[in-house]
């Protein structure tokens, strides 16, 4: 053939375009089990600190404040800009309080928008009143 590429060129004219992603009109779903934006459920968390211990880039921080009732207000913050999306925290969380969702468009102009945090209150333990000390019976001689 004189023009070896002619056949290919004509074929390409009738092929559908190679662009498969019509972003931003539709956001295609991520692959199954994709590790994306972290979701944290503070109602399940028991403050064991395992997630912070296993997180390699130290993306999880905890703050503890004492409110006026003497209860601890505990906040766990996950910095998405620091996370490497390994899911180790979710695997180690015994209460399944952490999940990595399939939402992957994490774009921000302000770093504060990239913090996922949750707060729960740890009640001050109620110490039962001590029973009055009984006087020992007198030892008989």
């Amino acid at each position: 053939m004189v023009l070896p590429y002619l056949e290919e060129a004509i074929k390409n004219l009738f092929k559908r375009p190679a662009t498969r992603v019509s972003f931003p009109k539709e956001i295609p779903p991520a692959a199954p089990d994709y590790r994306g934006r972290i979701s944290y459920d503070p109602t399940l968390c028991v403050n064991c600190g395992m997630c912070m211990r296993v997180c390699a880039p130290a993306a999880i921080t905890k703050t503890v404040e004492r409110n006026e009732d003497g209860d601890d207000v505990i906040t766990l913050s996950f910095d998405l800009g620091s996370c490497t999306y390994c899911r180790t925290c979710a695997d180690f969380c015994a209460r399944k309080a952490i999940k990595l969702t399939e939402d992957y468009v994490m774009v921000a102009t302000n770093p504060a928008d990239l913090i996922v945090s949750g707060t729960f209150v740890k009640k001050k333990p109620v110490i039962p009143p001590k029973p009055p000390v009984q006087p020992l019976p007198k030892a008989e001689a």
Partner: protein, 146 residues
Amino acid sequence: MFKKLIKKSAGKSPWLFHVNAGSCNGCDIEIVACLTPRYDAERFGFKLAGTPRHADIIVVSGPVTSQTKERVLRVLAQAPEPKVVVAVGSCPQSCNVFKGSYSVEGPLKNLTHVDVEVCGCAPKPEAIMAGLVEATKILREKRGEN
């Protein structure tokens, strides 16, 4: 009139310059994938520039290592104002798992202002594209258009 036309058309076709600041190559591959026909970021007008002197948007990946710090600063200094700096991946934002390493001088915000942050390790090409679209909006604002 002619200047106005140039200004208007330049806003529609921002040119990118990609700096690898010691990245693991994960983010770089996703940036390249973003420009290939499958994702085709060029339909938004983006074009990879060969030199920072032509660039409007500087895309940085990697945690800024000691070796690359000087180069990153030089590239940023060469890009004409107004420029938009996009941090792709967790590395330029916080150094990611390389935090505290003796050879890492990042994060990028110690060196310059970061306009858009795209999270992920590595982010999907769609997320990078969303970040670039956001960057064009900021570029327009910086130029004083709309």
